[in-house]
């Protein structure tokens, strides 16, 4: 029951956010109402759950989330969580109300409240998390949603910058926190808080403790704006004031100190913690307090005072004594209350006067006395004046500062620093009051100052009342809440275990009281002195602007990034290829190098090369090297390439691979035709490359690659070999139904390869066709094409026509013959298809494209389609017989001339290949033939 209520309390704001995103921005009040009701509902739920908490119990919700990580989506509502939830929801409600009056007409309220709800939900998640991973998740979410909130006035540069800065700094902290949490998980073996608390000793003795502590604290300090990570907070002031009032009093920054409080039982109570946390806190406390005095912007002053107070709280946790922790928790509450009210007051002033600059705002006491009174009380609390809540926690703080005796140096340093900070605190509080409400007349305001609308002041009034109530009757108002919260922060079994402390205003005349008095008196004196000696208004250069440093850092980061990018991304294909080549060579060499034993040849019997072989090799090498030397004369290079191809074909013949030889030969022919057609269009010579270094470099790489390959081939050839192939030889006839083992492999054993292969070929045809269709010709130097040579053009030689005409039927016969015998003798669908295509293109040359295409269906794309379909269906056909894809079946028939022909299902498959090859080849050739044939460009595609 309670558990589900807890879950609802968390889900409500998110639901609200979604709901609000659907609301039209034009209904101003509506979105405020939705947000308000959601928040109040949350408060109610919290109130319902309060009983359980104050009985010293704890409300829990748990559901599996990432099982194998041992991460359950766990929520826990203990005292600490309760306190924070109360602040988040309570002050949240007030902020919602306040915002309704603050927002200007052109600010989209729905978006504002949606973001606010999103943030509220994330904060609740952080404080309710019962599992460190879950905590990190919501932690990052607060970062994201605060990014949206701070950047709400997106048209303003400073808002955008502030948002980015907050996201960057806190995001950085978040990642550090994640790392720390993961390390905790490694040590503890679980991310559940109870487990982590239980494993305290284990954690603190582990060698990883230092990194863990540092990473976690990095997270906490960045979030709570501890020096030197404080700078994002002042620039976050570009946010609308309600946002500042929320983020910088009760929530965002408090998440950092919450983390300290939450993990204190696990990580606290040791020297490392003491030194790091207390020094960070001390530095921040002083730094913030001093800088705050010199701000002119109201919110700037409050921002730095916030930093200072967060430093104070951090310091308290750093002092590392139970009482200090109590004081810390207490000050968390008090600061939240008075700082929220002050921000709101500042917002009211800005809203009513149009300015936040204390050099303009003077003497507002006359025009807005009520606001002034409220602000003064709040300021008193901030300064730690008796009867205000701030006084009590400050007293406790001074007490603790005095109690530091464990470490000699700090025994004196802490109290003194504390007093100094107190003095500064009084001074800037005083400045706030004096500068804004008194000190002469307003200077150059755009608006006539007046009291704000009634309800805009209500939130401030409530908060101020709380300030006083807590300040005057602490025992009745705050004691129980503080007790449970502190108990949870110290992870004590029960309230009674808490150290003894008293919330009385009067402890008799003791040192801490003296310090308070010194602080008050000193503060007043300091402020007067400053105003008299150096008029604060004249100070223009504000100290402590780390923001600039950050900007510079980011800018440089981007510069460096761009620099790295330019190095890796030169945009030069040649460089890329060179890189790949070198990588490949390295890979190969490394492989051999790293081998356990050197790959020396196990010299198998090597046959001596006879003259034919040597001659063949020499011709091939000569041709290829020639092609390289003459590569700029493209036609020559092409011819030499063809020659090389022929030698390769011969090699296949020589080493008993007739199928390969045939295929190679035909592919050679078609390829050469293709390239010739391209050369009709491309420059006949390739431009010279001056850079001779490049030539040499490439040559060296090429030679190395060549040697590498040579070495590998030789190594392999001189090794004994046993492979799976005998199986193919054995079963080709019996089960494959073909004597030509290669073809049987192609259409049967490895039919799937062939299927893919023809798919590739088909696509190649399609791509070429698509690419060369209606090309832009304007860039090209192409004049009227040289008609005679362009296939598919006017006047042609009669002889050629006759030859072609005679050749056609014969060639078709041959191609069919190849197709049929393929299974047993060299041949097959692919070879047959190429033969057909070659003869066909000859027809183009002879009698012209239009004549050819008028005779047959020249929409070769559909041929490809048929090819794929036939091949695919043949494969599927075997499903019918209940066999796997492409299972072949066969039966022999004897035809005249050709002899025994297997009518194998493989034949149909091969038919698919046949069609696909013809389609693709013809598509490519006819397209290329048409490139620089203007008629071709105009001629539309035919579809059957």
């Amino acid at each position: 029951m309670n558990a589900s209520l807890l879950l609802w309390m968390l889900l409500l704001p998110f639901a609200g956010a979604v709901l609000l995103l659907l609301v039209d921005n034009n209904h101003r009040r509506r979105s405020a109402w939705i947000a308000g009701l959601i928040t109040i509902a949350g408060c109610v739920l919290l109130a319902v759950l309060a009983a359980a908490v104050f009985d010293g119990g704890m409300v829990r919700f748990r559901v599996d989330w990432l099982p194998s990580l041992g991460v359950a989506f766990g929520l826990r509502l203990d005292g600490l969580a309760f306190l924070f939830a109360l602040l988040i929801l309570g002050i949240g409600a007030l902020v919602v109300l306040y915002g309704a009056y603050y927002l200007a007409d052109d600010d989209p309220p729905a978006r504002f409240y949606a973001f606010l709800m999103l943030f509220m939900g994330s904060m609740l998640g952080v404080v309710l998390a019962d599992n460190l991973i879950v905590l990190v998740v919501f932690w990052e979410l607060t970062g994201l949603s605060s990014f949206l909130l701070i950047g709400f006035w997106r048209h303003r540069e400073d808002a955008r910058q502030g948002a980015r800065m907050a996201l960057t700094v806190t995001g950085f902290g978040g990642l550090a926190l994640l790392a720390g949490v993961l390390l905790i998980g490694r040590v503890v073996g679980s991310f559940d808080l109870d487990a982590v608390f239980a494993a305290r000793a284990q954690l603190q003795n582990s060698p990883l403790f230092m990194p863990i502590l540092l990473l976690v604290l990095l997270g906490a300090f960045t979030k709570s704006a501890q020096f030197p990570f404080h700078f994002w907070l002042p620039s976050a002031m570009a946010a609308p004031t309600p946002v500042s009032a929320y983020l910088h009093s009760a929530t965002m920054v408090k998440a950092g100190v919450f983390l300290l409080a939450r993990l204190y039982p696990a990580l606290g109570d040791n020297d490392a913690w003491f030194w790091i946390v207390s020094t960070a806190g001390l530095a921040t406390l002083l730094f913030g307090a001093v800088v705050a005095i010199f701000q002119h912007d109201l919110k700037g002053l409050l921002a730095y005072s916030t930093i200072s107070h967060l430093g104070l709280i951090t310091l308290l946790f750093g002092l590392d004594t139970p009482l200090a922790v109590v004081a810390g928790v207490f000050h968390i509450i008090n600061h939240a209350v008075f700082k929220a009210s002050l921000f709101m007051a500042a917002g009211i002033i800005e809203h009513e006067t149009g300015s936040r600059d204390m050099r303009q705002l003077n003497g507002l006491w006359q025009t807005m006395p009520i606001t002034a009174t409220l602000a003064m009380v709040a300021c008193a609390a901030m300064a730690g004046v008796p009867l205000a809540n701030g006084f009590l926690s400050k007293e406790m703080f001074f007490g603790e500062a005095l109690a530091v005796d464990t470490h000699r140096l700090l025994t004196f340093a802490t109290p003194i620093a504390a007093t100094l900070a107190g003095i500064a605190g009084v001074a800037y509080s005083l400045r706030f009051i004096h500068d804004v409400f008194f000190n002469g007349e307003p200077v150059g305001l755009t608006k006539i100052p007046r009291e704000p609308p009634r309800f805009m002041r209500v939130p401030v009034e409530i908060l101020v009342v709380v300030c006083l109530a807590v300040g005057i009757f602490p025992a009745v108002t705050i004691a129980p809440l503080l007790a449970v919260a502190a108990q949870a922060a110290l992870n004590l079994p029960g309230v009674e275990k808490l150290p003894v402390y008293s919330l009385a205003i009067w402890h008799g005349f003791n040192f801490s009281l003296l310090m308070s008095l010194i602080a008050l008196a000193g503060g007043v004196l300091l402020y007067i002195a400053l105003q008299k000696k150096i008029n604060l208004h004249t100070i223009t250069r504000l100290p402590g602007d780390a923001k600039l440093l950050f900007d510079v850092f980011i800018d440089n980061l981007v510069v460096v990034a761009g620099w790295i990018t330019r190095i890796t991304q030169t945009g030069s294909l040649q460089r890329y290829l060179l890189l790949i080549l070198i990588a490949a060579i390295v890979a190969g060499v490394a492989g051999v190098w790293l081998a356990p034993s050197p790959a020396g040849s196990t010299a198998a019997t090597t046959a001596p090369a006879n003259m034919i072989a040597v001659a063949m090799a020499l011709i091939g090498m000569a041709a290829s090297i020639g092609a390289v030397v003459m590569y700029r004369q493209r036609l020559t290079a092409l011819i030499l390439l063809g020659a090389t191809g022929l030698v390769v074909a011969m090699t296949f013949v020589y080493f008993s691979a007739p199928d390969l030889a045939l295929t190679q030969l035909l592919v050679e022919v078609v390829t050469i035709i293709m390239m010739m057609l391209c050369l009709k269009f491309l420059p006949a010579q390739s431009a010279p490359q001056k850079n001779s270094f490049r030539h040499w470099r490439d040559a060296v790489v090429a030679v190395i690659a060549g040697l590498g390959v040579t070495w590998v081939v030789y190594q392999v050839l001189t090794r004994p070999f046993n492979s799976i192939s005998p199986y193919f030889l054995r079963t080709a006839v019996g089960e494959g139904g073909g004597a030509n083992a290669v073809n049987v492999i192609i259409v049967d054993f490895r039919g799937l390869d062939t299927l893919g292969e023809i798919a590739v070929l088909g696509m190649a045809g399609l791509i070429v066709a698509a690419l060369l269709r209606n090309m832009p010709m304007q860039n090209t130097k192409l004049g009227a094409p040289d008609d005679a040579k362009v296939p598919g053009n006017a006047h042609r030689s009669l002889l050629l026509q006759i030859v072609a005409a005679l050749l056609l039927p014969l060639a078709v016969m041959i191609s069919i013959y190849f197709y049929l015998r393929g299974h047993n003798l060299p041949g097959g669908g692919f070879i047959a298809g190429l033969v057909f295509a070659i003869v066909w293109i000859l027809q183009y040359v002879a009698i012209g494209r239009f004549n050819v295409e008028s005779r047959v269906n020249a929409d070769y794309a559909t041929w490809i389609g048929w090819g794929l379909l036939v091949a695919g269906l043949t494969g599927v056909g075997s499903f019918v017989a209940g066999f796997p894809f492409l299972t072949s079946t066969f039966k022999y028939f004897t035809l005249p001339v050709i002899g025994a022909v297997p009518i194998a299902s493989a034949m149909f498959f091969d038919l698919g290949v046949y069609l696909c090859v013809i389609g693709a080849t013809m598509l490519v050739l006819s397209r290329l033939a048409r490139v620089n044939d203007p008629a071709g460009q105009r001629q539309p595609e035919r579809t059957p």
């Binding site: 945009g571 030069s572 040649q574 080549l581 046959a607 090369a609 040597v614 090799a617 290829s624 092609a627 390289v628 590569y631 493209r634 390769v648 090699t651 008993s656 691979a657 295929t663 190679q664 592919v667 390829t671 293709m674 390239m675 391209c678 050369l679 269009f681 491309l682 490359q689 850079n691 490439d698 040559a699 090429a702 030679v703 690659a705 040579t710 081939v713 050839l717 070999f721 492979s723 799976i724 192939s725 005998p726 030889l729 080709a732 004597a739 030509n740 083992a741 290669v742 192609i746 490895r750 390869d753 696509m763 791509i767 070429v768 690419l771 060369l772 860039n779 090209t780 060299p826 397209r927």
Partner: protein
């Protein structure tokens, strides 16, 4: 010189020629390079089944179905596939070369031509 060394050298030379042309700056030359490389690769695959002369893998009756009496058919089948694929891809690359020339007015492999 042994046959093995000879063919090994042959493949090596083809590779070297291909690589050198591959690194040229004009697409057509690169295509030439890739052609050479595909020759080299095809022969490479082919020779991985070792050398066999006069033993085409066309089964005759009575001949024992072993690698001593027949050439290894598997690499041959693989080479066939490889040849076809490289054929198709060459066509695509040629088309790209033509189209690129039409688009850019130059046939350099990089968009903005020589930047030296």
């Amino acid at each position: 010189m042994s046959l093995e060394l000879l063919v090994a050298l042959g493949v090596g030379v083809l590779t070297a020629c291909g690589v050198y042309l591959l690194l040229r700056s004009r697409l057509f030359d690169v295509v030439l390079g890739l052609m050479f490389i595909s020759y080299a690769v095809n022969l490479f695959i082919f020779f991985m089944g070792r050398l066999a002369t006069g033993r085409a893998p066309i089964i005759q009756n009575g001949v024992p179905a072993t690698l001593t009496s027949y050439a290894d058919p598997l690499p041959q089948a693989l080479v066939l596939t490889a040849i076809v694929i490289s054929f198709g891809m060459t066509a695509v690359l040629l088309a790209i070369a033509v189209r690129g020339y039409a688009e850019n007015g130059h046939d350099h492999v990089d968009e903005d031509g020589d930047r030296s």
